[in-house]
């Protein structure tokens, strides 16, 4: 039941984000007659502090959050899995080094490192992707490493080794398919984390820069006018909550379906 909610919300998110390219959106149309006005026929989510239609800004913001989430999770998944799997399978000094590096990265709680990186590199969508990927690979690396360590002495792997298969081939053909389920679950929860992180960075003024809309910066703008009207802060926040809730529900469902233990409890 809950998975239907998740699929509908996520489908809507992706569809609306992509549809934004073809719809005649006007996220930058300033109309000083309509500052902070409630919804009407032209903008059925109301107007912001510059009289710009919120629904248009929300859709462009959806595109940004989807883009950042897909890029960051894809980069982190590929890089992290590669680093974790290879270092665990090779072992020796390489693995020792990887473990130390992972430990050091994990010593930065949550998105603190991303905040510092984004702050130092300057704002912008590309820097957000870089900062979040630099933080994101660690979780996948740790998971992939643990999986390979648990799997590398299985009989089918030993058999492949004795048949003369190369290391990379073993990792790719004999280990990765067995690690797919936990990695997929981790990636799903990572999407939720990245969506919140992007919005958080933009909320702090370190992410996507105005006038380009992001759900995070829209919430920030909304807080300034809460005394006058609530819709500016409610609309982007509700969208954000729905998407994150749906992704988390999907993650829970996948974890149960794929029978993966643990994961997803860190943010």
């Amino acid at each position: 039941m809950r998975v239907y909610f998740a699929v509908v919300v996520l489908g809507g998110w992706i569809l609306l984000a992509l549809a934004g390219w073809w719809l005649p959106l006007e996220p930058h149309r300033i109309d000083l007659q309509r500052i902070l006005m409630p919804p009407d026929a032209q903008a059925w989510l109301g107007y912001d502090d510059l009289g710009r239609p919120l629904v248009d800004r929300l859709l462009v913001g959806a595109r940004h959050s989807l883009l950042v989430a897909v890029l960051v999770v894809a980069i982190s998944l590929l890089a992290g899995t590669f680093i974790g799997a290879v270092s665990a399978y090779w072992g020796g000094w390489l693995d020792h080094l990887t473990v130390r590096v992972i430990d050091v990265f994990l010593a930065f709680p949550g998105i603190l490192l991303a905040i510092a990186l984004a702050g130092l590199m300057g704002p912008g969508l590309d820097n957000v992707v870089i900062a979040l990927s630099l933080v994101g690979w660690v979780g996948f690396a740790r998971l992939a490493r643990a999986q390979v360590l648990a799997l590398k002495h299985r009989e089918h792997v030993v058999a492949a080794v004795s048949l003369g298969a190369g290391r990379l081939r073993i990792v790719r053909r004999h280990l990765l398919p067995l690690m797919a389920a936990p990695l997929i679950v981790e990636a799903t929860f990572a999407v939720a984390g990245v969506v919140i992180a992007e919005a958080g960075l933009s909320f702090l003024g370190l992410g996507i820069q105005p006038p380009e809309p992001s759900w995070g910066s829209m919430i920030r703008e909304g807080t300034r006018y809460m005394l006058v009207t609530a819709h500016m802060v409610l609309v982007p926040g509700l969208a954000l909550l729905l998407v994150v809730l749906a992704v988390n529900m999907l993650g829970d469902w996948l974890r149960d379906r794929l029978d993966v233990r643990g994961g997803g409890e860190r943010r």
Binding site: A116, L117, G119, L120, M226, L241, V244, E265, R267
Partner: protein
């Protein structure tokens, strides 16, 4: 036990060193010239050179790194570019506010999570369980930079019960603590439910029930003490989320702590202060995690025996 202590402390030390080096590298690895970013693109070459010298950025990397680490050992964090004051002094000024917020957030989290988790476990499969876990799901998913404004909207602006922002008196602590504590309460209540369910399935719980003890006595005297171990570990791990959560919560409520200092300093391009704040938060996190591990070993004799 002593060997365990030594290895654990040693590995923590390695992490501390790694974190310090990484924070040092942050400012150096970032593409572009930090001095130019600090002064702006139109700055004079002479000014840039002067700042470079003042920051010691004209010296070789290796020398800078050694000097920086030496400074850390003496608790000398350098001088703020913005206020020209020693950074250690600034941090000490801001620290109490953040600690107060984190402690209050932790208290809120435990006060919410304990009853929710216990009720959900004892009434498994009922509406109580579904409600508690629904709340937990919501709490995990709601970002604190939206939760904060919502609380302000309802309790400050509409009802007028609590102050909007700032740090004046205990009333001003309520909303920030609620904002910070909710996400942690959500994760914690799931964890309490899961571990309690596991423990309640044990033989000794059935025995305790069979000899006629009441449910409340079984839960508090027999089940909870054993469920507590994994919960303590989780608390330690979650403290990291609490610390970063504090950064954002402080911004929402204009709470004058370390988190606000980080963001202010980023916007002022006061990089030495940013460095120091990030270092302080991470090292606190490492210290708490190490303490958690040691606590765990102390509470559970099986671990210390295993070395």
């Amino acid at each position: 036990m002593l060997r365990f202590l030594a290895t654990r402390l040693l590995s923590a030390l390695v992490v501390v060193l790694g974190v310090s080096v990484l924070v040092f590298l942050l400012i150096h690895l970032v593409p572009g010239d930090p001095v130019e970013v600090m002064l702006g693109e139109g700055s004079q070459a002479a000014d840039r050179e002067a700042l470079r010298q003042a920051l010691g950025l004209d010296r070789p990397w290796s020398v800078q790194l050694v000097q920086y680490l030496e400074g850390l050992l003496r608790l000398d964090l350098g001088i703020s570019l913005y206020s020209r004051r020693p950074i250690a002094d600034i941090l000490l000024e801001r620290l109490p506010a953040t600690l107060e917020l984190a402690a209050a957030g932790l208290l809120v989290a435990v006060l919410i999570a304990l009853p929710l988790g216990i009720v959900a476990a004892l009434r498994r499969g009922t509406a109580w369980d579904a409600g508690a876990m629904g709340f937990a799901m919501l709490g995990v998913s709601i970002p604190n930079f939206w939760m904060g404004p919502l609380l302000i909207l309802v309790f400050s602006l509409w009802l007028g019960w609590l102050p909007v922002s700032g740090r004046e008196g205990p009333a001003s602590l309520v909303l920030p603590a609620l904002t910070l504590g909710t996400a942690m309460a959500a994760i914690l209540s799931r964890m309490i439910r899961a571990t309690l369910l596991e423990v309640l399935g044990e033989d000794y719980v059935r025995t305790a029930r069979a000899k006629g003890l009441s449910w409340s006595r079984v839960v508090w005297r027999h089940a909870m003490p054993n469920a507590l171990l994994p919960i303590i570990t989780l608390l330690g791990l979650q403290l990291g989320a609490l610390l970063t959560g504090a950064v954002i919560t402080e911004i929402v409520f204009s709470w004058p702590g370390i988190g606000q200092l980080v963001i202010e300093s980023i916007h002022r391009r006061d990089y030495p202060v940013v460095q120091a704040c990030v270092l302080l938060i991470s090292l606190t996190y490492v210290a708490v995690n190490t303490l958690t591990d040691l606590c765990y070993a102390w509470l559970d004799p099986r671990i210390s025996l295993g070395g």
